[in-house]
């Protein structure tokens, strides 16, 4: 039986407090009126050496009008900044927990023989689905109450002047959006509760009916998941760039979720193993997780590139603006994610011996998690804050805040049941798993 150490409790509380303070600072620091932004832009402009001093009088009023428009534009971006800063880690880490549960369901449905000793780790991480789901849903509700402009289609004034969005309002309207989000989140949580409850019940004695029930539930969940995941990625991520659409977007998000989830399982497993729990986990289990990390990293890169190549190659204006804005304003992050999420994990984890060495897997795992946070950053920021992005206090502290909640609830859940399942159809095989 695992008990949550006071160090972890303290660590996660510090993360939450520091993160919350930083985030509140981010909200306070955001400009409250267009005038502030104008002043700020003016100061910036002067510091650039006043290139436009020799402006002709006839153009002055026109330029002023343009400057006003620009200032308002920047004002909205800066107001969105702390919201987007918290939105990115909120959905990223929630989707990690979801991905872990999907991986767990996959192990059930595929009757895997290697993984039952890791089931409790996966169940523990999946427990973040509840707090994470609440945080995400809260943010979506706040967005639909017009407290921010994360989703441009929620603004009736914008929609009134935008025929493209008008044609999408049958799908993109606030009540339907919130109902859909509720169905996804509640559905995922319910499946996780039922399957994990059966697994806990099995600790009292092996029951073939429970085993079969979990098999069926997992299979049904996977079908439910793939449909809702696809729609979730349209709703929560793609609809930020309302004018743009891509058919493989759901898969692209799925690859990101799965690789981050497997990485999280590996990191938590290595941590618990290092603390002396999980006596049946050997380096072959770590090897298998590392193989999944590398495979899914390559899968992510494949989808990233497929989406990019098709749009770059055909270069149709209505599609290509998505990448044009990213290449213009986020070149380092945009290509940096490819290095962090594909090149480095592939080169580090290609060696079979390296995949058994804990510190190398942890090193690769940290790179992967950072890279996929940035992947979500690059998916969400250009549509919400545009060229005003910066990884500063609000961004970093929201990551700390959400990961503090994540660490607390995961390790709290891990302490609620023995760390190795007592009965599972494949437990014995898993204990002696050797690759």
């Amino acid at each position: 039986m695992y008990t949550m150490s006071s160090k972890i409790k303290l660590f996660s509380l510090i993360l939450i407090i520091v993160g919350a303070i930083g985030l509140i600072y981010g909200f306070i620091d955001a400009p409250s009126s267009v005038e502030d932004v104008k002043e700020m832009l003016h100061a910036e402009h002067d510091s650039h050496g006043g290139e436009s001093v020799a402006m002709e009088g006839a153009h002055a009023s026109e330029e002023d009008a343009h400057a006003d428009e620009h200032a308002e534009h920047v004002f909205h971006q800066l107001q969105n900044k702390p919201w987007a800063a918290i939105y990115v880690p909120a959905i990223f880490i929630f989707l990690i927990a979801l991905g872990v549960f999907v991986f767990y369901a996959l192990q059930n449905a595929s009757q895997s023989g290697w993984s039952p000793v890791l089931f409790r780790v996966m169940e523990g991480i999946s427990s973040y689905l509840v707090p994470g789901g609440i945080i995400v849903y809260l943010l979506l509700v706040l967005s639909s109450l017009h407290l921010n402009h994360l989703f441009v289609w929620m603004d009736p004034e914008v929609v009134a002047h935008d025929e493209i969005i008008q044609n999408k309002t049958a799908y993109l309207n606030t009540p339907f959006f919130l109902i859909r989000a509720a169905i996804y989140i509640v559905g995922w949580i319910l499946f996780s509760k039922f399957i994990i409850k059966n697994s806990r019940k099995m600790d009292e004695g092996f029951d073939l009916r429970l085993h079969k029930r979990n098999f069926k539930l997992s299979a049904i969940f996977l079908v439910f998941f793939i449909v809702t995941e696809s729609m979730m990625s349209w709703d929560w991520i793609m609809s930020i760039d309302t004018h743009w659409f891509s058919t493989l977007f759901g898969w692209f998000v799925l690859a990101s979720i799965l690789v981050s989830a497997v990485t999280t399982i590996a990191l938590v497993t290595i941590y618990l193993k290092g603390k002396g729990y999980l006596e049946h986990v050997n380096n072959s289990h770590i090897h298998d997780l590392a193989k999944f990390m590398m495979g899914f990293s390559i899968f992510w890169a494949y989808l990233w590139f497929s989406q990019f190549l098709l749009i770059w190659y055909s270069n149709i204006p209505e599609e290509v603006t998505y990448y044009a804005s990213r290449l213009e304003d986020y070149p380092v992050l945009f290509f940096g994610t490819v290095i962090l999420n594909w090149v480095l994990p592939m080169l580090i984890l290609i060696n079979s011996d390296f995949k058994r060495v804990n510190w190398i897997v942890v090193f690769a795992g940290v790179i992967i998690l950072l890279g996929h946070y940035l992947n979500f950053f690059v998916m969400i920021m250009p549509g919400t804050v545009g060229e005003s992005w910066f990884i500063g206090i609000p961004e970093i502290s929201s990551v700390l805040l959400i990961s503090g909640v994540f660490i607390y609830s995961v390790f709290n859940a891990l302490a609620k049941a023995p760390l190795t399942v007592k009965h599972s159809a494949f437990l014995e095989e898993s204990k002696h798993f050797h690759y």
């Binding site: 590139f305 990019f308 190549l309 770059w312 190659y313 270069n315 290609i350 079979s352």
Partner: protein, 175 residues
């Protein structure tokens, strides 16, 4: 005494593994083991070094990537940089996404084929090669172990083999 070898026949891979371990414990060296199918863990039990085929494959892949890059750069950018459908052919990097499918396939092609050819060369396999089969039954259901012996130890080795379940033991001249 001319060099001689013992041929011991086993009927089961578990017994074979046991015999291999017993011989290795007594520091007798095994020349060769012939099996009808891969026996899991036999290479470890015999103490064979790890294969380096994967490393060669990685290097061949790099060669393939380099050749594809050089080829596309020379043809599309340096030799005749035409405007084909508005694709930017001013530098390699500008038009690189279009070359990636070729770079990928060439990497896989080189890595796979050169590795297979390396495997054939290292294990001396080619058409019309004379089969080196000491006993035809080893391709069907028998396992054969070959150990070089001299007058000093032939008796001792034969005894170890017998104790560990060899069903036939033959002393033959090494060709």
């Amino acid at each position: 005494m001319a060099s001689k070898v013992l041929h011991a026949i086993f009927t089961d891979d578990d017994i074979l593994m046991q015999a291999v371990k017993a011989l290795r414990e007594k520091k007798y060296s095994i020349n060769e083991v012939f099996c009808p199918f891969p026996v899991h863990g036999l290479d470890k039990a015999m103490g064979l070094p790890h294969t380096r085929l994967a490393i060669t494959s990685f290097l061949y892949g790099l060669v393939g990537l380099a050749i594809a890059t050089w080829m596309m750069n020379f043809i599309m950018i340096e030799d005749w940089p035409q405007n084909i459908g508005g694709k930017p052919s001013f530098s390699y990097i500008e038009n690189m996404p279009a070359f990636v499918p070729i770079m990928f396939e060439m990497t896989v092609f080189f890595a796979a084929h050169l590795m297979v050819i390396t495997f054939y060369m290292r294990s001396k396999l080619w058409p019309f090669k004379k089969a080196e089969n000491p006993d035809v039954r080893t391709t069907d259901d028998k396992f054969l172990m070959e150990i070089s012996v001299n007058e000093m130890n032939v008796q001792a080795i034969a005894e170890v083999l017998h104790e560990n379940g060899a069903s036939e033991i033959k002393l033959i001249d090494n060709k």
